[in-house]
Structure formats: structure tokens, C-alpha cells
């Protein structure tokens, strides 16, 4: 069985995931295989969020994209007083992605679309990191659900990801996602079947 949810260009033709069929445990095997193959192709499996911190922070300083700056700031923000408003931003962009299955390159200060380019992949990568961090903190499945969908979308764009940093982020979020799914699978006692 081949994992089918990364086959086509999901930004061109978004995947709605409605009424997906149950295909047994083999489906999960095909999912793990899909992810592991992509991680291997990135050739970045030693990278962590900590090891790319400096590089992302440099981008946050030099970037002209305010959204990118905000996302990076939230990822590395240790100031707990700002957590609540940060969480609102994550929720807002989670919802935007879930409804359109696309995120635009830029938004204004009221989070309204300021661009019609939805092929700016860095935004998807950063939102996926934010959802990973929120899932790790809360274990709320709505974040894991969005991680899986954003990562499907990113894998469907794999041939367009040329920057090393973006490949490194992809490798990190896919490894985090696999860990979350494995943890959940084990927690539900499914690894014995």
C-alpha cells in the first residue's frame, strides 16, 4: 500500500480529507514509510530546533515578511507573559490553514490576506513548528491533526524545497510528527496488535 495523501500538488488542488476510507493497520505502515523516506531524502536528520535557532533568528532580523518574523519570535520566545497572545496567533493561522489548506505569504496587522501567493513554503514550515510546540505542550489533538495536514502539503512540494534551512525544518517537523504519532499509537496500546 502506498500513502496517497502526498501524491499530488496539494497547494494546487487542496486535499479536503473528507470521508477517508479505513484501510487497516497497513495504512499506518504506509504513512510511516512515507515520512521516513522523506526524512532520509532531506539528509538533515541531525538537526534540531536548537541547532537552527541562530539561523532562524538572523532571518527574523533581515526578513521583510512580518509574519515570518512573528512566527520565529514565538518559536523561540521564552517569555511566558506573552504566551496567551502567541497562542491566539497559532490558533488563527491553524484555522486559516484548515479552512483553505493554504496560507498566503503576507497578512496585515488584522491578519487579513495581503498577498495572493500561497507558495511561500517557509510560512507552512513555521506554522508546523508552532503546532508541534503547542501539541508537545498541550497534547491537544487539533494541533497534531494540523501538523499532519501541513506536512502532507509540504511533502507534496518537496521538489520545490531548495533552501537547506527549509529542508532542515522539514526534517525536524517530520521527526517530531512521527514521534507524536508513535507516542499516541503506543499510548492506545496499538503496537501489540
Amino acid at each position: 500500500m502506498t500513502y496517497q495523501y502526498t501524491k499530488r500538488d496539494l497547494l494546487k488542488i487542496p486535499q479536503k480529507y473528507q470521508q477517508s476510507q479505513f484501510e487497516g493497520k497497513e495504512f499506518l505502515d504506509s504513512y510511516f514509510k512515507n515520512r521516513r523516506e522523506v526524512i532520509e531524502k532531506t539528509n538533515c536528520s541531525d538537526k534540531t530546533l536548537e541547532s537552527i535557532e541562530n539561523e532562524l533568528k538572523k532571518i527574523a532580523i533581515s526578513s521583510k515578511n512580518d509574519l515570518e518574523k512573528i512566527f520565529i519570535k514565538i518559536i523561540y520566545d521564552k517569555n511566558t507573559n506573552e504566551k496567551l497572545s502567541n497562542n491566539k496567533i497559532i490558533d488563527i493561522f491553524l484555522k486559516k490553514f484548515e479552512i483553505k489548506k493554504r496560507v498566503m505569504e503576507e497578512y496585515d496587522s488584522n491578519n487579513k490576506e495581503k498577498s495572493d501567493n500561497f507558495y511561500y513554503l517557509r510560512n507552512y514550515l513555521l506554522i508546523s513548528i508552532l503546532c508541534c510546540l503547542r501539541y508537545r505542550e498541550t497534547k491537544n489533538l487539533k494541533f497534531l491533526n494540523t501538523i499532519l495536514k501541513i506536512n502532507d502539503t509540504l511533502i507534496s512540494q518537496f521538489f520545490k524545497i531548495n533552501e537547506i534551512l527549509n529542508l532542515e525544518i522539514l526534517s525536524i517537523i517530520l521527526r517530531m510528527e512521527i514521534d507524536f504519532i508513535t507516542e499516541l499509537y503506543t499510548l492506545k496500546g496499538l503496537n501489540n496488535n
Binding site: S20, G24, F27, E98, L148, I181, K188
Partner: protein, 230 residues
Amino acid sequence: MKLGIILTTGNRSKAYLQKIIKKGIKLDQIFFMNNNNQEKQFSKEAIIQSKKNGFDISKSVENTLLDHKLEFVEFSFNDINNSELIDAVKKSTMDYFVFAGGGILKQEILSSKSKFIHFHPGIVPEYKGSTCFYYSLINENNCGVTAFVMNEGIDTGDIIYQKKFQKPDHIFIDDVFDSHIRSETLIDVLENKLLLPNKFKKQDSETGNTYFIIHPVLKHIAILNCIKDI
């Protein structure tokens, strides 16, 4: 109190209608949105499971209506906001309509005199949004249904009644289990005469979680979790 129902050709409508008939509950008005889509074919196992759950998923809504000689008004579309249906609802004298699908109700239909009751497969406010039963089955090994009066928000209306269900022991969650738990809750509300506005509970629309359509990976974990012991 006058009670109507707005049916579609879907599984939920099949379960609602068949169980209402079995229980001998009287409907004062039936609207049927029949867009003449070809009936989905179900496996023998899914049909057997639906019968175990008190309805026959292979029997069309139209045939059930005709077999029981029920009067109904038929519409050739499946859109709860269609102007033709809105006109009919506005002319209706029903206090409540049971909603069985057909889209998200917009302001125009919501502004009619009749109220709409939705049976949402999630215990709100914790489980609002789409495919909530899967999230609940993973988190809590059970799931629930909330009956509420619909408003413009997503699953934020006044709560009529909530009921919890054990996890199913089969894989037909979308086609059978979803319709089964909603219809069981509907029957509870109607048999126990729970449509009493002064007993409805207001929701705080800001609390809880809103979920989106479940990803197939999580769906598989939810279903495998249901059948792991059989």
C-alpha cells in the same frame, strides 16, 4: 408543540426517520431534500451493523417515507439555505425542525419563526466542529452527542441534552456509528419531551475546542483503538 423534520438522502436522515417511525413518534411536517443522488452501496457487514443499531442503512429515505405512507414535501436539491426551502420553512407553523444535514444554516433561514435542532456528535464545549467523535474516541475511549438549538455559531447553540456512548466495536464509524448515536439522542429528546426552552443551557462560545476534519492517520488510530480488543 409542533415538530417537523428536514430530511436529506443521507445516512443520518435514514436513522432519524426509521427510529422515529419505530417509536411511533408523530411528525407534524416532513420536508425532504431529495437531489436524486445515486444511493451509496454499503457492504453486507455495514448493513448488518446498522440493523444491530436499529436502522437499515440500505433502505432509502424515499422508500421509508413511501412505505409508511407519510406525507412529505419534496425538494429537488440538498441545500438548507435554498430560497425555495426557506420560503416553505417561513410559511410553516412548526415550533421546531429536526435538522439532518444539508449545509450550515445562514441568517435567513435562522431568522424564521421555527427553531432548528441539531444533534452534534460531540460533547460541547469540549468537542465542537467536525468529526468530533474520532477525537473523543482517541482521548476518552468514548464519545457523546449534544442536542442543541442552532444559531449562527459553530456548535454554540443552547444545549437541550447531552448523551455519552461507549466506543463502537466495529469499523463503520462514518456510515453507521455516527448516525446511530445521533438518532439515539434524538429519540431520547423526543420520548422524554425535552424541548423545554426554560430548561435549555446557554453555552459560553469562547470556551472549549473546535476541531477540523480528522486526518486519516488519526482516524486510523481512533478506529484501531475501537477494534483492538475484538
